[in-house]
């Protein structure tokens, strides 16, 4: 295993720099729908400015977790700390089709210069020329860039991305990755990106969490510079794919928590 890959399997939610206070903190967070436990005693901490990718299969609880962090589901008095300055980019851009692009970006903003602020945000994502376009005339990539502008115009401390590039073609997705990294560096916000694409997680994140059965089944920190990751992270990709695909056949429970392979990590 590459020495630059620092595995943190035994220290859950290890902070990037111990000095800073995390802006997101979940302690023993549990969420149930009826008899089904979707999130089961989850601990999570995200540092300011940290880029975290949340990997997981369908039904692993990642959307539930994101909805809680976004404030779309109430936390029911549990120990959950989330900044109020947060914004979500959904997989479907969720632009209001009856509002022009800049009005979508300005949605809910208060103040005098909202058009100027929206225009600035749209210029950042390269859509300064489509201010007065109708959302239904945009391509998928353009719509997602508008959604990014709409999130960033609020100057969030926490940017939540819910599989934001899953519906885009491969080339557009790569360009969106570059854009997201550039915006993240410019704004310095913490990012939590939900995805089921291991390549995407490895290419973008400081830290990768694998969610399974409502728990963090594994977490990895990547210290390699983002440009140099393509080949160096091959073993990590294989390992993550192994965790995601590793349904324990003998247990008979498809949603059973998969034990993190300690032996492999130590080797």
């Amino acid at each position: 295993m590459d020495a630059r890959l620092q595995f943190l399997a035994d220290t859950p939610a290890a902070p990037a720099s111990p000095a800073a206070d995390p802006i997101v903190r979940l302690n023993r967070f549990t969420r149930r729908f009826g008899d089904v436990t979707v999130i089961d005693g989850l601990d999570l901490a995200i540092q300011p400015g940290e880029f975290v990718a949340l990997l997981g299969r369908s039904g692993s609880g990642k959307t539930t977790l994101l909805r809680t962090l976004a404030g779309l589901d109430s936390a029911d008095g549990q120990d959950v700390t989330v900044p109020t300055a947060r914004a979500v980019v959904f997989q479907d851009a969720r632009l209001l089709p009856w509002k022009k692009v800049w009005r979508n970006v300005a949605l809910g903003l208060k103040g005098a210069d909202i058009r100027a602020r929206a225009q600035h945000a749209l210029k950042e994502v390269g859509l300064g020329h489509r201010l007065d376009a109708w959302p239904l005339t945009l391509s998928g990539g353009e719509a997602q860039r508008v959604a990014l502008a709409r999130a960033l115009v609020r100057e969030p401390q926490l940017l939540l991305l819910d599989e934001p590039f899953a519906a885009l073609d491969a080339l557009t997705r790569l360009r969106m990755h570059e854009l997201v990294l550039a915006l993240w560096r410019a704004h310095g916000c913490a990012v939590l990106m939900v995805t089921h694409d291991v390549d995407e997680a490895v290419a973008l994140a400081d830290r990768i969490l694998v969610l399974d059965g409502g728990r963090i089944a594994a977490q990895e920190r990547i210290t390699i510079a983002r440009g140099a990751r393509a080949e160096l992270t091959l073993p990590l990709k294989e390992k993550l794919l192994g965790i995601l695909g590793g349904t324990p056949a003998h247990s008979g429970l498809p949603d059973h928590v998969i034990p993190f392979p300690h032996a492999a990590a130590g080797a």
Binding site: A70, G71, L72, A87, V88, F90, D92, R94, L96, P97, W98, K99, L107, G108, W134, P135, L136, T137, R150, R154
Partner: protein
């Protein structure tokens, strides 16, 4: 050359109605269709002209317009208010919707005798019938439109901290607008339909009065003129809603391309 014109005429959507008109005119002139059965097109046009010049048609049309306008305004306003009450709150839904669904099963025109007993034979029962009938399409469409607003859009807007009032204004109402306009289109055509029947109630003015009078004197030319006016009213109502739609729904892709 002439064959090409004939071929184009054969394909034109105007040729068959024109042929029908010519056959009708010829049949009337040759005495095949007696005037007391159906007046010739030329006679109808002449009658239309005299009725226009004498002011008989405009005056009665104005009376009918007033009835439709007033009835529609009351009906559409009531339908919109009730749909907002039922669509935007659970208590409102529980209070309003069951009654509306029960009332929907009663054909409005069957209420005519009751309305005459209640409101007499003046203007009130006519306007009330139109109002009552045109309320339902608006109510049903707007209510289901509000309930059918995409929850993902609502959730997205909510994640940006919009208040309940802002959600209604920015998301729910614009999202339900296409349904409201569909309801409005139905309401307009139903209002005209009910107008025809309501004006048979002892009217002393209006299109229905003209038709009733013409029937008594077997003036088929006047009857046909009034039928034409009803058709034009229907077309006009449709064009009105189309114009509103073009202005209010510019964001829809089919309209953007056009």
């Amino acid at each position: 050359m002439s064959t090409r014109i004939l071929a184009r005429l054969a394909r034109s959507r105007w040729s068959s109605p024109l042929v029908l008109l010519v056959v009708w005119e010829l049949a009337s002139r040759s005495g095949l269709i007696p005037e007391r059965t159906l007046a010739a097109p030329s006679a109808v046009v002449a009658t239309l002209w005299t009725m226009l010049v004498s002011g008989e048609l405009p005056q009665n049309l104005l009376v009918s317009f007033w009835r439709v306008g007033l009835g529609l305004s009351i009906g559409v306003a009531a339908g919109v208010v009730l749909a907002l009450v039922a669509g935007l709150s659970r208590q409102g839904e529980a209070a309003v919707d069951p009654i509306m669904q029960i009332k929907r099963t009663i054909p409005t025109l069957a209420l005519t005798p009751l309305f005459i007993v209640w409101f007499g034979i003046g203007e009130t029962p006519k306007v009330a019938l139109i109002a009552f009938a045109s309320m339902f399409p608006v109510y049903l469409n707007l209510y289901s439109g509000i309930r059918g607003v995409d929850v993902r859009l609502l959730e997205g807007a909510r994640s940006f901290g919009l208040s309940q009032a802002e959600l209604i204004w920015h998301v729910i109402l614009p999202g339900a607008l296409p349904a409201l306009l569909t309801g409005l289109r139905y309401s307009l055509s139903i209002a005209i339909l009910v107008l025809v029947v309501a004006e048979q109630i002892n009217a002393s003015a209006g299109l229905g009065y003209l038709i009733n009078n013409a029937r008594d004197f077997m003036r088929t030319d006047i009857i046909v003129v009034c039928l034409m006016v009803y058709a034009v009213l229907g077309l006009g109502a449709d064009a009105l809603v189309r114009t509103i739609e073009r202005r209010a729904l510019v964001w829809r892709p089919s309209l953007i391309k056009a």
